[in-house]
């Protein structure tokens, strides 16, 4: 797989109550990824970027919210979310990784 492409697949980690909870419970990490990313791509990208062993990846498409401003309606962009399950004993420390 193209290294350059892998560098572009992952957009940002998702930091929220749910993401911290699943990190503690299932060794899972949530990411916002580009819309046309595939599971194998995400798996390879996470392994490359964070130097960890990935067990499995599940993805879902998040529909953008419909927002209205006065009379006009607008739509936020759809995006893809990926839950990455890490292999036993692996960990990503996002608090420090964000700085790197």
């Amino acid at each position: 797989m193209n290294q350059e492409r892998l560098m572009q697949v992952i957009l940002a980690p998702i930091v929220s109550e749910k993401s911290t909870m699943i990190a503690d419970k299932n060794q899972q990490v949530a990411f916002r990824v580009v819309g046309d990313a595939t599971k194998p791509e995400i798996k390879a990208a996470v392994e490359l970027l964070f130097n960890v062993k990935v067990d499995a990846v599940t993805t879902l498409n998040v529909k953008g919210k419909v927002k209205r401003f006065g009379r006009s309606f607008g739509r936020r962009k759809d995006w893809k979310k990926a839950y990455v399950s890490l292999a036993e004993g692996q960990e990503i420390d996002l608090t420090n990784a964000a700085a790197e």
Partner: protein, 435 residues
């Protein structure tokens, strides 16, 4: 806590303090816990964010706060232990000690109050102006009061100097009217230089209802740029000529001045009392000035720079406010600190000398003195009891009189020590020549 004191110059000191890091860390942790209880962080309900995230968001800020506080605390504790009197604000700087993770080290540079040695006042001459209030002064004051209450009554004669006239005028230059060159029902008093001399001589001698053309040449330095140096013709119509009438010194006049039963003698006594009070005030102000100067002359003192700087700042602020309250735009007005330097130095020096004198000689303001001072203030008001009550209503209102009593005490003390030279002073000079 380790403390190390260095003396940099006569007044400058540097203190180096070492704090254990563990203590700071513990404080930071505790404070973070408190912050976490209602921290708002994106992606979490308020207060639900885990400690790790809170630390990432607030850690640096909290640490800074704790450090600042610890530094302050440690500094004042150290200063207290070393028995130093810090003047102005200290300057803090961290000391680099790489490789030592256990301690935090910083240094504070500051100035201490100088030892004030008030010089010997015995044999020092202090001029004490004296002025006497005589009947003549009272007369003068009465005259001023009369002039302030001048009334005008209409007369049917030619206007003369001192009369008030009401006129319409229309001015033209080369037959063309110019701005500000005409007015209707314009009152002015002749012979006081309110108008241009040509204009006034033109009006003098006119009667009510008369119309006349007057040629006026504006001077070269006239404030109106367009007309300066030009010749104008004014068509003047006099509508009213009125003679000035000074009120007689009689019962009515006394009543006007607030003496209920119209007793002229009483009025004079009242005026005399006021004049005497004013003259006493000015005399004591002068004596005070002289005493302060004498104190400055005999005392040698090194001033802490930081105090002078603070004072300069205060003076600038005061000047700025002063100008602002007079309606000037101060936003972009420069206030060069050098202008205030000397004044600030003087004030700081006097402040130090005074506090030293007060402490050394027990010249504190006593409550009964303050009371007397306030009663004296109140005396010139119509309801003295109210004024006294007002002063005692809050402690910061008492501050003014208290510091005045203090100054008076110092003045008295100095006068008792020094050689007082009495010097008669003309009353007019004392009052600033305008009496």
């Amino acid at each position: 806590m380790q403390v190390q004191l260095e003396t940099l110059s006569t007044l400058e000191r540097r203190i180096s303090i070492t704090l254990p890091m563990a203590e700071i860390d513990a404080q930071v942790g505790e404070r973070l816990k408190r912050v976490a209880r209602n921290a708002k962080i994106q992606g979490f309900r308020p207060g639900k964010a885990p400690m790790k995230i809170v630390e990432m968001n607030y850690g640096a800020q909290v640490r800074e706060e704790v450090l600042g506080e610890q530094v302050q605390q440690a500094f004042y504790k150290a200063v207290g232990e070393e028995k130093l009197r810090v003047a102005g604000y200290p300057r803090f700087e961290p000391v680099n000690n790489e490789g030592d993770k256990e301690t935090f080290k910083f240094a504070a540079t500051f100035e201490v109050y100088p030892e004030v040695k008030v010089g010997d006042l015995t044999g020092k001459d202090i001029e004490k102006p004296v002025a006497e209030v005589t009947e003549a002064e009272v007369d003068k004051t009465v005259d001023i009061l009369r002039k302030q209450r001048t009334r005008y009554s209409r007369v049917e004669r030619e206007a003369a100097s001192g009369d008030r006239v009401i006129i319409d005028f229309k001015g033209t230059i080369d037959g063309v009217p110019f701005e500000g060159g005409s007015a209707e029902n314009f009152p002015f008093v002749l012979g006081q230089g309110q108008m241009l001399a040509d204009f006034e001589t033109g009006v003098t001698g006119m009667k009510e209802g008369e119309t006349k053309s007057v040629e006026v040449s504006f001077p070269e330095d006239y404030h109106g740029k367009e007309v300066a140096g030009k010749k104008a013709v004014f068509e003047i119509t006099v509508k009213n000529v009125a003679e000035a009438q000074l009120p007689e010194v009689d019962a009515d006049f006394a009543k006007m001045l607030g003496i209920a039963d119209g007793d002229v003698e009483k009025m004079r006594a009242e005026i005399r009392k006021n004049v005497e009070r004013e003259s006493k005030r000015r005399l004591s102000a002068r004596v005070k000035e002289n005493v302060m100067q004498a104190l400055l002359d005999v005392t040698e003192i090194e001033l802490p720079k930081s105090l002078v700087q603070l004072e300069v700042g205060r003076l600038i602020e005061q000047a700025r406010r002063d100008l602002e309250s007079r309606g000037m735009k101060v936003q972009d007005m420069p206030f060069p600190p050098e202008l205030f330097q000397q004044q600030a130095e003087r004030r700081v020096a006097l402040g130090l000398i005074l506090s030293e004198l007060v402490e050394a000689n027990q010249l504190e303001a006593k409550p009964e003195q303050v009371k007397a001072m306030i009663e004296e203030f109140a005396d010139s008001y119509e309801q003295p009891e109210e004024v006294v009550k007002w002063y005692y209503a809050s402690p910061d209102r008492l501050e003014g009189p208290t510091s005045m009593v203090l100054e008076d005490n110092v003045v008295e003390f100095v006068l008792s020590k020094a050689n007082v030279v009495e010097k008669p002073l003309a009353f007019d000079e004392l009052m600033g020549n305008n009496a």
